[in-house]
């Protein structure tokens, strides 16, 4: 367990490569968009990081159920890791979104469904971390986190649907006819390639980070155990 598995090293290399290729595709392969110019290129990374941001609560929800059923520590760490990683990625996505939006909509923030839901999901992630920090018993901490993650898993889609029914301003990006007038655009093939590849690259990156995080958690556990054992030998 202490040695880094070969597969993980392989994954490291793969994700680094994919992200680089994605960047290359975005900057050199995909054409510059007519209306928005270079700024539009932010879009690829924006959506990819937002996608990773959303992965967090889904992975945490599933990890939560798995933890409750198996009580294996790795599921608890997986949930925590997913939340931590996604918290950062979503923040990046929101900031990127603001950079993209400012020249187009002349505002940093709008209360549209996707953005608002993103903010809410960030708050749920933060609440999850706060919940964990208030619990010392590792068993309870893992169980409660799992339960909160499961609730979040169901609540976020409902929230999104509710907000969506209330307002709409965020560009419906993929192939809508009036897209351009809303600040959206139609994607031709090189753009689609760059777009989907970015999504894939960042997903692999997420998996890579998560695996590292789980290893880190397990090692931390081991250290704690050894520490307690040494205390007992002393007394």
């Amino acid at each position: 367990m202490l040695e880094k598995p070969r597969l993980l090293t392989g994954l490291d290399i793969l994700s680094a490569l994919m992200v680089l290729i994605a960047a290359a595709l975005v900057f050199f392969y995909a054409p510059v968009e007519q209306l928005m110019g270079q700024v539009q290129k932010v879009f690829y990374f924006h959506v990819a990081t937002a996608w990773v941001g959303m992965l967090g609560f889904m992975v945490a929800g599933v990890a939560g159920v798995l933890y409750l059923r198996t009580e294996k520590e790795k599921w608890d760490i997986a949930g925590l890791g997913a939340v931590e990683i996604s918290l950062v990625f979503f923040m990046v996505a929101i900031i990127m979104g603001a950079i993209w939006a400012r020249p187009i909509w002349n505002t940093w923030w709008t209360w549209d469904p996707r953005l608002t839901t993103a903010a809410i999901v960030e708050l749920i992630y933060a609440a999850y971390l706060l919940l964990r920090s208030g619990l010392d018993d590792p068993g309870k901490r893992a169980r409660f986190s799992a339960i909160y993650a499961i609730f979040g898993f169901f609540s976020v889609p409902l929230t999104f649907i509710s907000i969506r029914l209330v307002r709409t301003i965020h560009p419906v990006v993929i192939g809508s006819a009036e897209a351009a007038s809303q600040g959206g655009f139609n994607m031709d093939t090189p753009m689609k390639t760059a777009f989907f590849f970015s999504l894939a690259a960042f997903s692999v990156f997420f998996a890579d980070l998560l695996w590292h995080r789980i290893r880190l958690g397990k090692l931390q556990s081991k250290v704690n155990q050894l520490r307690y054992q040494s205390y007992e030998k002393e007394s």
């Binding site: 018993d137 590792p138 068993g139 556990s221 704690n224 155990q225 520490r227 307690y228």
Partner: protein, 233 residues
């Protein structure tokens, strides 16, 4: 009545009970002694189905724990060092509430209140009771449904001399009715007086056990000291 084999309880990296073996026969009154942090409360909580073991075999009154915990509870009476009573209800109302939870009739309530000497205070709010009175009512609550096993976790905590003596009297009466009793305690002498067997728990394991019949007080202290040393393995 109670059989425990190789019981382990861990809280994350901390191991509290290490492969503990423990047996209590029907009708025995066992006092579980030991220093703080030895695991007495943990053991009791596991026996009372409130806590699940990390691993090991636990059987109480022919019910396996934790899987058959729900069935066990009807036969179990527990007194903790917290009273487990509702301050804003009267003594009688508290007993009525628990009677409903245990699905038994309300007719035993006056008898129980009388047994613990609280009949005159039946319509007073528990919030106004002294600690000793609350503990007495707690015992009443514990035997309401006529359990065959009683688990007591340091019931004398916070009681003055007089209250302690009243509690002892009730405990002796209650134990005489053929119940199996396990009581954790810090009080060596009192335990020797009440119990038929003393068991010493140290560092997560049972280190020694002795019957209290014909036990000399001097031997008692010896038993405790050597027991503590013995547990240091």
């Amino acid at each position: 009545m109670i059989t425990v084999k190789k019981l382990v309880k861990r809280f994350g990296p901390l191991t509290v009970l290490r492969e503990l073996d423990f047996e209590v026969n029907s009708g025995e009154f066992v006092a579980l002694l030991g220093p703080n942090g030895a695991g007495k409360t943990t053991l009791l909580r596991i026996l009372s189905s409130l806590m699940r073991p990390t691993s090991g075999f636990v059987q109480v009154a022919s019910y396996r724990l934790p899987s058959q915990g729900a069935s066990l509870r009807a036969k179990l009476g527990v007194v903790s060092h917290q009273p487990l009573l509702y301050g804003d209800l009267t003594a009688a109302e508290n007993l009525q509430f628990f009677s409903k939870l245990y699905s038994i009739g309300l007719d035993r309530i006056p008898e129980i209140l009388d047994l613990v000497g609280l009949l005159p205070r039946r319509d007073d709010l528990v919030r106004t009771f002294s600690r000793g009175m609350q503990q007495r009512l707690a015992i009443g609550r514990a035997i309401l449904h006529n359990p065959s096993i009683l688990l007591l976790d340091e019931p004398h905590t916070g009681l003055d001399q007089a209250a302690g003596e009243i509690l002892d009297r009730i405990l002796k009466e209650v134990a005489l009715e053929g119940r199996t009793v396990v009581m954790t305690s810090h009080d060596l002498l009192r335990s020797a007086e009440l119990a038929s067997r003393l068991v010493l728990l140290s560092k997560g394991k049972i280190s020694s056990s002795v019957s209290t019949v014909d036990l000399d007080p001097v031997d008692l202290v010896e038993f405790y000291k050597t027991g503590l040393q013995g547990g240091q393995s």
